[in-house]
């Protein structure tokens, strides 16, 4: 019995020792970060999808641009606080000057009609004194020879990643670096997603690609560097050290927006030489993986499966927090740091979280500074108050968490394939009938309900393709789609289903029955393969069509097959979405531009008009609007185009999603938007407050360990008893059997 007592006591002593030992540590046990980082001016962010490309000529996805936009500096950027989005200089001294010329080379005045313009020349002058981040590509020895442009095997032996190079250096940014990058759009070894588009506009880019392909093929074996400086490009010329020109075919006002994207950021030729060495490519040390830029941050750790780290570029200076914003910004504290030098944060740690549950819990523990809101955690995070205004729940408010919302420049729509005989029509009469059918469906599919059920209210029912915040978008009654809505009591009200049924009857399908054949109307809805959670969305969609007694057959497939169907025009009704590249109505309206239709397009570019909508009137207005600067006249044309679209209803306009994001109290200067991506330089962190809150929120709870060990100890007691009983009973039985044997 004494021995047994001793056994039970031992775990208790152990537990107490461990508890005391661990209790001495000040850092939270569950902190995923290193102790030496505590209290530092670091932003903790998260990413879920591994970036594929960090070469600015290739990267396009939002999960890539969140890194490249902090590292690379195109000549222009968006004003952080002003709305609608306003372009301002980034590295350029001023906004680019534009000169127009006719076919004969004569300069034209600025207000000349677009069709007279044959050439537009954008001249950009950059600020002197801008330096690249420290990088081994710039390192030279005392004799002025490049240290790392001709690496041999011996030198490569000690190199596994970029940061293994001993010497680093920098140089001044020049206009030639911008021209070099424009040339790279046509480089045979990189795949720029905008090459096709830009080849239509930048003079000589298409031919330049052929020249480079030939030159690349002629390179000697083992030589990976194609010197673009040897091959001039007509459309991009260096004027002097700080000035360059881009020559554009015709008039293309949207080119200004492209100049604010990393595609047009500078690349130093030294980096291209450096990264073209086979020995480095074999070790995955490439420009696509280790960017070299002039921006406020530089990438110092690149492990996209775990963590990406940006640190302040020591050579970055001369940029300041905006001194003016929109009404209300000052009250929100967004101008508290006006005029102060950027960036505020020293280091940004992006941690990869593939799953939403750990991501959300770490945000609540204070280990991430901001978070999106998944549908699972929506009720925990957000409540609706007053007039349906969204705010954080009381629990979140107690933690000091705040909610920021912004309507994304995106649209999710359901398209009708206009080549389909039922929903698109084949001749005058059937087209009119199909139009009424589409209008009837537009009324029947209740997107207010959809947003409420499936998006937790995070969205606006769309009235046209153009999303809020884009010049040309109209709010309120003047922005209402009169085909689908009425304006009642100062708000939108969807037309009654009777109106839809009347339209359906006019279309030749009274009560959903084809009056010619007497067969019920069956329509086909193409969607990408979905999980179980999306089944309810499809059921909901079926029910919307059932309101008109139309049977909707869902054809679910994988994304590749779906795209293939759309390309070949084999879908009847489909759902898709679009996120704008830049804040211009053209970037939405071109999705319905006839020459850009998927089937039989003639644009020469990739086609984006998945509905294959082709209206001569609309096309004419689009081409007119496309070449105009933002002005009342242009907005009037946009109104006319939207009017045509609403009448023809080639899409169910769907909805514009709203982004809801949560921020901790220590995260400051946040004005969310989905257009400009170089925002980290404006953010500020109160690291002391964060440290204090983390300590408060993450006190280790030790009693469960004690309880578990105690329970295990308790379990041992009956086991030991049983063992002893068995041992003694065995002895008795053996003794008994011996006795019996003797007898």
């Amino acid at each position: 019995m004494r021995a047994m007592k001793k056994n039970v006591k031992t775990p208790w002593v152990l537990v107490l020792c461990v508890a005391l030992l661990l209790g001495c540590s000040e850092a939270s046990w569950n902190s995923p970060y290193q102790d030496q980082d505590s209290g530092k001016n670091i932003l903790y962010n998260v990413f879920s999808e591994r970036p594929k490309h960090l070469d600015p000529v290739q990267s396009y996805s939002s999960n890539e641009i969140q890194f490249t936009a902090q590292i690379y500096q195109p000549p222009l950027q968006y004003h952080y606080l002003k709305r609608p989005f306003t372009l301002i200089p980034a590295t350029s001294v001023d906004m680019p000057t534009i000169q127009y010329f006719d076919h004969a080379g004569n300069q034209l005045p600025d207000n000349v009609p677009a069709d007279e313009i044959a050439v537009s020349i954008y001249e950009i002058t950059i600020k002197p004194g801008i330096l690249y981040q420290p990088h081994p590509a710039f390192a030279m020895n005392e004799q002025g020879q490049w240290l790392y442009h001709h690496l041999n095997e011996q030198m490569l032996a000690s190199i596994d990643k970029l940061f293994d190079f001993e010497h680093i250096s920098t140089r001044e940014l020049t206009a030639a670096d911008y021209v070099y990058q424009i040339k790279r759009l046509a480089h045979p070894n990189v795949h720029s997603p905008i090459y096709g588009l830009m080849a239509d506009y930048i003079f000589g880019l298409k031919e330049y690609a052929d020249v480079l392909r030939t030159a690349n093929a002629a390179l000697p074996d083992g030589e990976g560097y194609l010197d673009l400086n040897k091959y001039p490009l007509e459309g991009a010329q260096v004027i002097d050290t700080y000035t360059y020109q881009v020559k554009i075919r015709g008039k293309y006002p949207q080119f200004m927006y492209w100049l604010a994207m990393p595609f047009f950021a500078p690349i130093p030729w030294e980096a291209d030489v450096f990264y073209s060495q086979k020995g480095l490519i074999d070790k995955n040390v490439t420009l696509d993986w280790y960017p070299v830029g002039t921006g406020p941050y530089m990438l110092t750790e690149n492990n996209p499966n775990l963590r990406m780290v940006l640190e302040k570029n020591p050579n970055f200076y001369g940029e300041f927090y905006p001194t003016e914003g929109m009404p209300g910004d000052a009250e929100l504290g967004l101008l508290d740091n006006a005029g102060e030098p950027l960036p505020f944060i020293d280091k940004v740690i992006f941690t990869r979280e593939r799953e939403s549950i750990p991501r959300w819990n770490k945000f609540l523990q204070g280990y991430y500074d901001a978070s999106g809101i998944g549908s699972d955690s929506f009720d925990q995070a957000v409540q609706l108050v007053g007039q349906g205004e969204a705010t954080v729940t009381d629990d979140m408010a107690q933690q000091g968490i705040r909610l920021e919302t912004a309507v994304a420049v995106s649209t999710y729509y359901v398209g009708f394939n206009m080549l389909d005989p039922v929903v698109g029509g084949t001749d005058g009469q059937s087209r009119e009938s199909a139009r009424k059918l589409r209008q009837a469906i537009s009324i029947a599919v209740d997107y207010e309900e959809f947003i409420s059920i499936f998006a937790n209210g995070r969205g606006l029912p769309a009235q046209s393709p153009i999303s809020p915040g884009i010049p040309g978008y109209r709010a309120g009654q003047e922005g209402m789609n009169p085909v689908v809505y009425d304006w009642v009591d100062n708000k939108l009200q969807r037309k009654p289903i009777a109106v839809a049924k009347a339209l359906l009857a006019e279309a030749g399908y009274p009560d959903g029955i084809d009056q010619e054949t007497g067969v019920p109307l069956v329509l086909y809805f193409d969607v990408t393969a979905r999980g179980s959670e999306d089944r309810s969305k499809l059921d909901w969609m079926r029910k919307q069509f059932q309101k008109l007694n139309i049977q909707l057959v869902v054809r679910s497939t994988d994304y590749n097959r779906f795209q293939d169907k759309i390309r070949k025009g084999n879908a009847q009704i489909f759902e898709w979405g679009w996120h704008a590249d830049y804040p211009d109505a053209e970037n939405f309206l071109f999705l319905l531009h006839g020459p850009q239709r998927k089937v039989g397009n003639s644009s020469g570019n990739s086609a984006n008009n998945a509905a294959n909508y082709d209206s001569a009137e609309y096309n004419k207005l689009f081409e007119q609007m496309n070449n105009m600067e933002d002005s009342p006249e242009r907005r009037q044309i946009i109104d006319e185009m939207v009017h045509i679209l609403r009448h023809d209803a080639p899409w169910l306009w769907g909805y514009h999603p709203k982004d809801y994001s949560l921020y901790h109290a220590w995260f400051q200067n946040v004005k969310p938007n989905r257009i400009s991506n170089n925002n980290i330089k404006y953010y500020k962190i109160d690291a002391a407050l964060r440290e204090q809150k983390r300590s408060e929120w993450n006190v280790p709870v030790l009693w469960p360990i004690t309880a578990i060990i105690f329970a295990m100890g308790l379990c041992l007691i009956p086991a030991i008893n049983t063992y002893r009983r068995r041992e003694s009973s065995a002895g008795v039985s053996v003794a008994a059997s011996k006795l019996q044997g003797n007898n």
Binding site: G196, T351, S606, L702, A719
Partner: protein
């Protein structure tokens, strides 16, 4: 034994070619090279020329298995299958579709995978065998009964539940370890505690029952009766005789998985943010990166074959009656 091993390695070659062929066929039935190009190039502004160029640069512009336009041997060698598969036999895995060297990636991700898989394997083996022995030792008592009930209960719960439940209780409620993350070196310890505990518990039910069955089977054999007849105590019978004789079936299950530990765990790595080969494979499948999928399937098959050879060799070590020839 050497000749046996050489023979087994030679047998492995057609198996690996077959596995490659099946992977290739399955992948390209679902994805055409055009689909792969579109996946990599994105959906916006992708021109047919860009797709052609992407395919050409990566060698996906060739016929899949047979090149009608080529002559002689080129009809076989100048195909996607040959060019993408044969280099792997000299461990040249080529480049992923994002341009990264797959061999380098595998090298760097192997350790994090192993950091979880190895402790789970070793600790699991100890825990499962110990638990199974306890059940057998106390067989036909309420300890055995409740042990089996516990095993069945553990088996009935999804491993995802253990992960989510473990993260909720241990990390979120009790704040004892980080919910997810990873560091290299000794700093990895605090990130590995939870996944290792969960890894061990999630397989405890099935494995303990399996070992219990093995031990019970051994207990019914003649040599056990002889040992008992000699007057040996029950624990000596169990630990000295039964455990040793049960090693062959234990080795059959255990040794074969040792090489596969390098490949990591798909779900655990994903939930705990471990940058291992399991998550690499999942990423490759999601992004339709055939080069990586093919390399990982090849590696998995090869390691499995190695595991089987190890198992055979281990038999000779624990059972002197077995000779490999």
């Amino acid at each position: 034994m050497l000749s046996y091993i050489v023979r087994r390695i030679l047998y492995a070659i057609p198996i690996l070619i077959g596995v490659n062929l099946i992977t290739f066929a399955l992948f390209f039935v679902v994805n055409t090279p055009d689909d792969m190009a579109r996946m990599q190039l994105g959906i916006k502004y992708v021109t047919p020329e860009a797709i052609e160029k992407w395919k050409q640069d990566r060698g996906y512009d060739k016929p899949l298995l047979f090149n009608k336009e080529a002559q002689n041997l080129d009809q076989i060698t100048n195909t996607i299958f040959f060019e993408k598969s044969m280099a792997m036999f000299v461990f040249d895995f080529g480049r992923a579709d994002d341009g990264r060297d797959i061999g380098q990636e595998i090298k760097s991700r192997m350790m994090p995978s192993l950091a979880i898989a190895l402790p789970v394997f070793v600790l699991g083996l100890i825990v499962y065998i110990t638990f199974a022995l306890i059940m057998v030792f106390f067989r036909a008592t309420y300890i055995d009964f409740w042990g089996v009930v516990l095993c069945v209960a553990l088996m009935s719960i999804s491993s995802l539940f253990y992960i989510i439940g473990g993260q909720f209780l241990i990390s979120k409620m009790w704040h004892l370890v980080p919910i997810s993350g990873y560091e290299s070196g000794l700093d990895a310890a605090k990130f590995l505690i939870l996944p290792v505990i969960i890894g061990v518990i999630s397989s405890a039910g099935a494995s303990s029952r399996w070992y219990r069955t093995i031990f019970l089977e051994e207990m019914g054999k003649e040599y056990v009766r002889t040992a008992r007849a000699k007057g040996l105590s029950e624990h000596i019978v169990l630990f000295k005789h039964v455990l040793r004789n049960a090693l062959i079936p234990i080795l059959t299950g255990a040794v074969v998985v040792i090489p596969l530990l390098f490949l990591g765990s798909l779900i655990v790595e994903s939930f705990f943010g471990i940058p291992g080969l399991g998550s690499y494979t999942i990423d490759a499948i999601n992004s339709q990166d055939f080069s990586v999928v093919r390399a990982m399937v090849f590696l998995g098959s090869m390691l499995y074959i190695i595991g089987l050879i190890f198992t055979d060799i281990s038999y000779t070590l624990v059972d002197p009656r077995i000779r490999l020839a």
